[in-house]
């Protein structure tokens, strides 16, 4: 739960950091897209029935680490993207799996499965 709060706050930081740290494109647009996505996924994944969405935060974190090299960021946004990427990866990996039972969960809707 607290790991998702950390990743939600990281997303909010990415929304604000282009203005606060004063950096431009392409890092700015990248963070303006990655930020809302990280914050939204984190908020939704708080609900244990949708906890699985935390795994989408993982590729987002990996992207933040790759983006400075693929898109060519300046020094400040590179450091910012790398640090936020590491935080997002850690948050995705450390978030606990929900133990609440949901009659087989979403997977029970697959053609070859059956709900409890």
């Amino acid at each position: 739960m607290w790991t998702l709060i950390v990743s939600a706050l990281t997303g909010l930081w990415l929304m604000a950091s282009p203005s606060i740290l004063d950096y431009g494109d392409p890092a700015r647009t990248n963070d303006w897209i990655a930020g809302p996505l990280a914050a939204s996924l984190s908020v939704i994944a708080v609900s244990s029935v949708l906890r699985g969405l935390r795994w989408v935060i993982l590729p987002l974190g990996i992207w933040q680490i790759l983006a400075p090299w693929l898109l060519g960021f300046d020094t400040t946004p590179t450091i910012n993207a790398t640090v936020t990427g590491l935080i997002l990866i850690a948050a995705a990996l450390l978030t606990r799996h929900a133990t609440t039972r949901y009659g087989g969960g979403w997977a029970s809707l697959l053609p070859d499965r059956m709900p409890d």
């Binding site: 303006w32 708080v46 009659g103």
Partner: protein, 194 residues
């Protein structure tokens, strides 16, 4: 000896006294304590969106914006906001109202007695959240500014997604079980099956 702990390990859900809890679930997702907070949030979202829509319609000459200067004004008058024949906030207000109504209709058994309302509820809440995220990304990327109340509305719609989706899942599982029993999916959807 080894069989004793085993026998206790698998406790079937029939042991529960509350038959309103879906099979294999720990709680009832259609409980009022789950639904009333969502409906209350939806009503707050409705008021925020209605205010923004009234500004877009020209009822109010200015819009409240404490942080981003003319941000709200620019975003609410942007081409994305005016892409529809009516203000985009009006569509938001309508969806929030639908969420509130669909969240309140039906008893705490509605995941199996009224799957249609639960599915409608889920279909209203889910896309509203997705559209909110999209509009949040558009604000800075296209217009280089933010709109405080638009962000507040987006946050409200995202918080509603999780609590609505568990009920949605319970209804879909119920429909799948009914079909597996050879019953009519159509009748189960409208709650016509015992």
């Amino acid at each position: 000896m080894a069989t004793v702990p085993h026998a206790h390990a698998a406790q079937p859900s029939e042991h529960r006294a509350d038959h309103d809890i879906p099979p294999g679930w720990d709680y009832n997702p259609a409980e009022w304590s789950q639904r009333i907070p969502i409906a209350a949030l939806a009503l707050v979202g409705f008021c925020v969106s209605l205010y923004l829509a009234l500004y877009q319609w020209g009822v109010f000459g200015s819009v409240w914006e404490p942080f981003f200067g003319d941000g709200s004004q620019r975003i609410l008058n942007s081409s994305v906001s005016e892409a529809l024949p009516f203000p985009d906030a009006a569509l938001g207000a309508f969806t929030y109202l639908l969420d509130a109504v669909a969240g309140l209709v039906g008893s705490r058994r509605r995941w199996r007695t009224m799957p249609w309302i639960v599915v409608l509820f889920g279909l209203a809440v889910g896309p509203l959240g997705v559209v909110s995220v999209m509009l949040t990304v558009f604000q800075p990327v296209l217009y280089d500014t933010w709109c405080t109340l638009c962000l507040a509305s987006a946050a409200i719609s995202l918080v509603m997604v999780g609590p609505a989706m568990d009920e949605f899942l319970a209804s879909l599982q119920h429909l799948k079980r009914e079909r597996a029993k050879g019953r009519s999916l159509w009748r189960a959807f409208w709650g016509l099956e015992g």
